[in-house]
C-alpha cells in the first residue's frame, strides 16, 4: 500500500479555475463525492461533538479519574510508539540492505501481524506470559499477571511495529545510496555514515511513521480490552460509558477527547512532517547498490530481529495451539472441541465478518476511485477543502466513529442502528482515505504514462484509455477492495458499538469470549479469522495482484 499521499498542485491551470456553481458537471461531481461524505462523516461527527451537555464536560475535567484515563492513553501510546517505531526502523533498515540474511523470514513475520486483528498480540501474550501462561507458569513456575500497562505496552509494540516498518521501508528505499558512498569517499566510517547521513535523512520518515503508530495505538481498543486489565484507556472508557452504563453523554465526551489528540497528530503528519521528506534529486546515471551493512552491525541487528520475529512466531503458534488445547494451562491434550463450539455457535459471526467486509471493500473501492477521478481532474475553488474532507476519516478514532454512528443513525429517515448497513458503512468510511490515495497515485501514473506516450509521438485517446487508464484504475480498485476487506475483517473499535445479536462479527465475538476467559474458543475463532485473511492475501498475490504490503 502506498502510504504517502500524492497530491497535485491545485493551481495547475489557474485560468481554468471555476466556481463550482457555474459548471454543471462540476456540481454533479461534487454532489457525488461530497454528499456521502457529509452524511457519513461530518454529520455523525457533528452529532457526537454537540451531544454532551455542559455538565458532562464539567465532569470530565473535574474528576481526576477521567483525566487519569486520558493520561494513561497518552502515556501508553507514547511508549508503544517509541518501541514500535524503533523496532520498525530496525526491520526496515535491515531489509533495505543487500547483504542481510533471512530477509524472507523477516518479511513474513512483519506481514503476519498486518493481516490479523491487532488484539491477537494481547491474546497471545496472556497465553504465553499470563497467570496460566506457557512460559511464565508452565516453564518458569511464576505467578505473574500480564494485565496492566506493561502487558499492553508489549502487545501494542508487537501489533504496530510492522506498520512502522512498512512506512519506513519506503523511506529508506528512496534514500539515494550514492550519498552514502560520497560520505565514505570523504573518509567517513560506516557508523558515521549511518549517524550523519542515513539517520538525519530518515528523520521526516521516522516522524511520519511515529505519528501513524501514535494514532493507531491511541485509538486501539482490542488490546486494552484483552490485556489492559485495571489500566483503563480512553477507548475502553468510552465503551464502558456507552455500553456498560448507558451514559451516552459521557461516552461522547470521552470519544471527543480521544479525537482531539488524534486530529492533532493527523494535521501534524499531513501539513508538517509530510512536506519535509527529502526527495533526493537524482539525475540518471548508474546507481550504486545500497551499501552493505558492516558485519558486526549486521549480526547484532540479525540477533535482535530474530528474537523479535521468533516472538511473533510464538504469538501465532500459541494462538493456533490454544485453539487445539483442551484447557490452556491445565490440560494440554489436543482437541477439536473449540472449533466445534465455534463452528456450531458462532459460524454466523464469521460469515457476517466476511459478508460485511466484502461489501465494505466493494463500496470503498467504487467510491474511492470515483472521488479520486473527480477531484483529480477538475479544477475548482475549494478543491483543497474537498480533498481534505475525503482524507479526514483517517484522523477519526474507531471509537468516535462507532459512537457517532449511534447518535447519527438512530431515527428516521436515517434509522440504521442494528442493521448490517451501519456496520458496513463504518467499515467503509475508515478505509476511504487509503483507497483515495491509492487511486490518486494510480491517476498520477496515468498522467505520466500519457506524457511519455505523447512524447513518443503518441497513442490516441482510445488506446490510452484502454492500455493505461483502465488497467491502472483497475489496480487501484482491486488493491483498495482487498485492503479494505482485510482491515474490516480485523476491525473492532467502531463495530463494537454497532453490532446487535443478528449482526455480530468475528472480532467482537472473539473479544467477548476472551473477556469471559474462554481462551480456547477465542483462539479457535482467531485462528479461523487469520486463516481467512492470510489466504486472501496469498491468493491475491498468486493471481498476480500488486503487493499489498511492501517491505
Amino acid at each position: 500500500m502506498p502510504t504517502r499521499s500524492i497530491e497535485r498542485d491545485g493551481g495547475r491551470r489557474p485560468s481554468q479555475l471555476l466556481s463550482p456553481f457555474k459548471d454543471p458537471t462540476t456540481i454533479t461531481a461534487i454532489i457525488i463525492v461530497v454528499v456521502p461524505i457529509l452524511i457519513i462523516v461530518l454529520y455523525p461527527a457533528a452529532s457526537v461533538i454537540l451531544r454532551p451537555a455542559a455538565a458532562d464536560w464539567n465532569t470530565f475535567f473535574t474528576r481526576p479519574r477521567y483525566l487519569g484515563v486520558l493520561r494513561n492513553s497518552l502515556t501508553i501510546s507514547a511508549l508503544s510508539t517509541v518501541s514500535a517505531t524503533t523496532i520498525g526502523f530496525c526491520f526496515a533498515y535491515a531489509l533495505s540492505r543487500p547483504n542481510f540474511p533471512g530477509k524472507f523470514f523477516f518479511r513474513i513475520t512483519s506481514i503476519l501481524p498486518l493481516v490479523s486483528p491487532p488484539f491477537v498480540a494481547g491474546l497471545a501474550l496472556i497465553l504465553l506470559l499470563g497467570r496460566r501462561g506457557i512460559i511464565t507458569h508452565s516453564i518458569l513456575g511464576l505467578d505473574i499477571s500480564m494485565y496492566g500497562w506493561h502487558g499492553l505496552w508489549l502487545a501494542q509494540t508487537f501489533a504496530y511495529y510492522p506498520i512502522a516498518a512498512m512506512t519506513l521501508s519506503g523511506v529508506l528505499k528512496s534514500l539515494n545510496p550514492t550519498l552514502e558512498y560520497a560520505a565514505q569517499d570523504l573518509g567517513q566510517s560506516r557508523w558515521g555514515i549511518f549517524r550523519t547521513v542515513v539517520l538525519p535523512m530518515s528523520v521526516p520518515g521516522i516522524a511520519s511513521a511515529a505519528l501513524l503508530v501514535l494514532m493507531l495505538s491511541l485509538s486501539d481498543f482490542g488490546n486494552p480490552m484483552v490485556i489492559g486489565g485495571p489500566f483503563r484507556v480512553m477507548a475502553v472508557e468510552a465503551y464502558m460509558q456507552v455500553v456498560g452504563m448507558q451514559n451516552l453523554g459521557m461516552g461522547a465526551v470521552v470519544s471527543v477527547m480521544l479525537l482531539l489528540p488524534s486530529l492533532a497528530f493527523f494535521l501534524l503528519q499531513r501539513y508538517y512532517v509530510g512536506r519535509r521528506q527529502y526527495t533526493s534529486v537524482t539525475g540518471k546515471g548508474g546507481r550504486l547498490d545500497p551499501m552493505p551493512i558492516p558485519p558486526a552491525a549486521k549480526w547484532i541487528l540479525f540477533a535482535v530481529l530474530t528474537a523479535i520475529s521468533l516472538f511473533v512466531v510464538a504469538i501465532f503458534v500459541v494462538i493456533v495451539w490454544g485453539a487445539f488445547a483442551r484447557t490452556w494451562g491445565f490440560d494440554w491434550s489436543l482437541t477439536f472441541r473449540n472449533f466445534e463450539f465455534t463452528l456450531l455457535a458462532r459460524l454466523g459471526h464469521i460469515w457476517n465478518s466476511v459478508r460485511f467486509s466484502l461489501m465494505a471493500g466493494i463500496g470503498t473501492a467504487i467510491f474511492s476511485v470515483i472521488a479520486a477521478y473527480v477531484l483529480y481532474r477538475r479544477q475548482f475553488t475549494g478543491k483543497r477543502a474537498f480533498d481534505f474532507l475525503v482524507v479526514l476519516p483517517a484522523a477519526l478514532p474507531g471509537t468516535l466513529v462507532g459512537i457517532a454512528f449511534i447518535f447519527a443513525f438512530n431515527r428516521p429517515p436515517l434509522l440504521l442502528t442494528g442493521t448490517a448497513t451501519i456496520i458496513v458503512l463504518s467499515m467503509a468510511v475508515r478505509n476511504v482515505p487509503i483507497g483515495y490515495r491509492t487511486a490518486l497515485s494510480g491517476l498520477h501514473q496515468i498522467d505520466k504514462s500519457i506524457e511519455e506516450s505523447a512524447a513518443d509521438g503518441g497513442a490516441n485517446t482510445f488506446q490510452i484509455l484502454k492500455d493505461i487508464t483502465l488497467p491502472l484504475l483497475k489496480t487501484a480498485f482491486t488493491v483498495t477492495l482487498v485492503y479494505t476487506f482485510i482491515r474490516s475483517m480485523n476491525t473492532v473499535s467502531a463495530v463494537v458499538f454497532l453490532v446487535s445479536a443478528g449482526t455480530n462479527v468475528a472480532t467482537t465475538s472473539i473479544l467477548g469470549l476472551a473477556e469471559h476467559g474462554y481462551w480456547g474458543e477465542a483462539a479457535a475463532m482467531a485462528t479461523i479469522l487469520i486463516a481467512i485473511t492470510s489466504s486472501v492475501v496469498i491468493l491475491f498475490r498468486l493471481i498476480g495482484g500488486k503487493r499489498l504490503f511492501e517491505l
Binding site: Y181, A182, A183, Q184, D185, L186, G187, Q188, G283, G285
Partner: protein, 380 residues
C-alpha cells in the same frame, strides 16, 4: 583550441611522470565483462578522459580507481603503490558523482566541510579551508543555502568543492556535466578545465561526449565493450585513429568501401566503383598489404573540397578527385553539410564558405585533402 602547427599542444603537460597506473585491470559482473585487460598510465597533473559509448565500462573503471568496486583481476597503482585492499577513504582519490550526491540536509558550507570534519581537522583550519574553496569556486554567497535551493550548475560546483577541499591527489569525475543543459555544459566545462589547470591536479574524467573529451583532455582513452581502443592526445585520436571504431566515434565522418589497386612506397591507389584515386601511403593504418584487397576509407567532412562539376578543370589533381551528385544538404549557418552520392555510396562534405557559391546541387566534384582520409581493413 587553436592549432598553429600540426603538432599537438598536449605534449607540454606530460612530464613522463606516472601517477595512476592500471595494469591488466579486469572486472566481471557474473557473465558480463565490464572491463577487459585495461592497461593505462596516467601522467601526474594531466587531465585524462575515459571516453566511450554507454555500457563500455567507463564508470566501472572509475569506481575501481576510487575503490567502490573490487577488480576481478589486475591492479591499480597510485604513485607506484598498489591499491589492492585499500578502502575508498584511504585512497588519495576523491570522486565527484554524476548525480553530485550532495547531502540534502546540510548547507553548502556543511557539505563542503563534511570531509574535513570527518578527518577531525581543527575547527579554525576547517573554516579557513572551506572559506577559501568557496571563494575559489564563487560559492561564498550561497554558503548557507541547502542544495535544493541551488541551480544545477551551482550544485555541480559544490560537489566539486567538496572533493577539492580534501586536496586529493587524484580527482575522479563521472559525467559531471550530464545533468546540465547544453549551454551551461559548455560554460562549466571551460570553468572546470581552468580550475584543474590552475590546481594542477591529476584528473580522470568519464564522459560519452566526444566533443567534451576533445575540448578538455590532455589525453583520451577510448573504450568499447570494456576494451581500450586507443589512448592518445585529442589530436592523435582525431587525425590518426587506430581503428575504425575510434574514427567512427570521434568526429563526423563517412566510410566508403574501396578496393586497393596499387601500393607503392609513398602512395596507395584506390578504386571506388569505376573511379580511382590516390592517397599518401601514410593514410594506411594497419593490415593492408595486398592489392586487390577490400578496404574501408574514412573521410572527414571538413577535409573535402566541393565545387560544381562544371567548374572542375583538368588543372586540378585528377588523382585526388571524386565525382558525384548532391543528394541532400543542410544549411547550418557556419557551413553547409552535403550528402553526396559517389558510385552509389554516400560521402558527407562540409562547405565552410557557403556564401562563395551558394547552395550546390546536381553534379559536383570532390577534392580530397592531403591527410584527412584514413584507410582501414574492410569489415565483414
Amino acid at each position: 583550441m587553436l592549432q598553429e602547427t600540426a603538432q599537438p599542444l598536449a605534449e607540454t603537460t606530460t612530464e613522463g611522470n606516472a601517477h595512476v597506473e592500471l595494469t591488466r585491470l579486469v572486472k566481471h559482473f557474473e557473465e558480463v565483462v565490464a572491463v577487459d585487460n585495461l592497461d593505462l598510465t596516467i601522467e601526474r597533473g594531466s587531465f585524462t578522459c575515459l571516453l566511450g559509448p554507454s555500457g563500455c565500462g567507463k564508470t566501472t573503471t572509475l569506481r575501481m580507481i576510487s575503490g567502490f568496486v573490487e577488480p576481478t583481476g589486475g591492479d591499480i597503482l597510485i604513485s607506484g603503490r598498489s591499491q589492492r585492499g585499500v578502502p575508498p577513504h584511504k585512497r588519495k582519490t576523491s570522486i565527484v558523482f554524476q548525480e553530485y550526491a550532495l547531502f540534502p540536509h546540510m548547507t553548502v558550507r556543511q557539505n563542503v566541510g563534511y570531509g574535513l570534519k570527518v578527518h577531525h581537522t581543527p575547527k579554525a583550519e576547517r573554516t579557513e579551508r572551506v572559506d577559501r574553496i568557496l571563494e575559489f569556486m564563487g560559492l561564498t554567497s550561497m554558503a548557507n543555502r541547502l542544495p535544493s535551493m541551488l541551480s544545477g550548475g551551482q550544485q555541480q560546483r559544490v560537489a566539486l568543492a567538496r572533493s577539492l577541499v580534501m586536496e586529493p591527489e587524484v580527482l575522479l569525475m563521472d559525467e559531471p556535466l550530464s545533468n546540465l543543459d547544453a549551454k551551461l555544459r559548455v560554460r562549466v566545462r571551460t570553468e572546470l578545465k581552468e580550475i584543474q589547470r590552475r590546481l594542477g591536479i591529476t584528473t580522470i574524467y568519464v564522459t560519452h561526449d566526444q566533443e567534451e573529451a576533445l575540448a578538455m583532455s590532455d589525453r583520451i582513452a577510448v573504450m568499447d565493450e570494456g576494451v581500450l581502443q586507443q589512448y592518445g592526445t585529442p589530436w592523435e585520436l582525431y587525425f590518426n585513429p587506430n581503428n575504425r571504431f575510434v574514427a567512427d566515434f570521434i568526429g563526423a565522418n563517412a566510410f566508403v568501401d574501396v578496393r586497393i589497386e596499387e601500393l607503392t612506397d609513398s602512395t596507395v591507389g584506390l578504386a571506388i566503383g569505376s573511379q580511382s584515386i590516390e592517397l599518401p601511403r601514410a593514410s594506411i593504418t594497419a593490415d593492408i598489404e595486398n592489392t586487390g584487397q577490400a578496404a574501408s576509407l574514412s573521410l572527414r567532412p571538413e577535409g573535402i573540397g566541393i565545387r560544381p562539376a562544371a567548374e572542375h578543370d583538368d588543372t586540378a589533381d585528377e588523382r585526388r578527385t571524386l565525382h558525384g551528385t548532391v543528394r541532400m544538404y543542410q544549411f547550418l549557418g557556419a557551413y553547409v553539410r552535403y550528402w553526396v552520392a559517389v558510385e552509389e555510396q554516400e560521402i558527407i562534405v562540409d562547405d565552410h564558405n557557403p556564401k562563395r557559391r551558394g547552395i550546390l546541387s546536381g553534379k559536383v566534384a570532390l577534392h580530397l585533402g592531403e591527410w584527412e582520409a584514413q584507410l582501414f581493413p574492410a569489415t565483414g
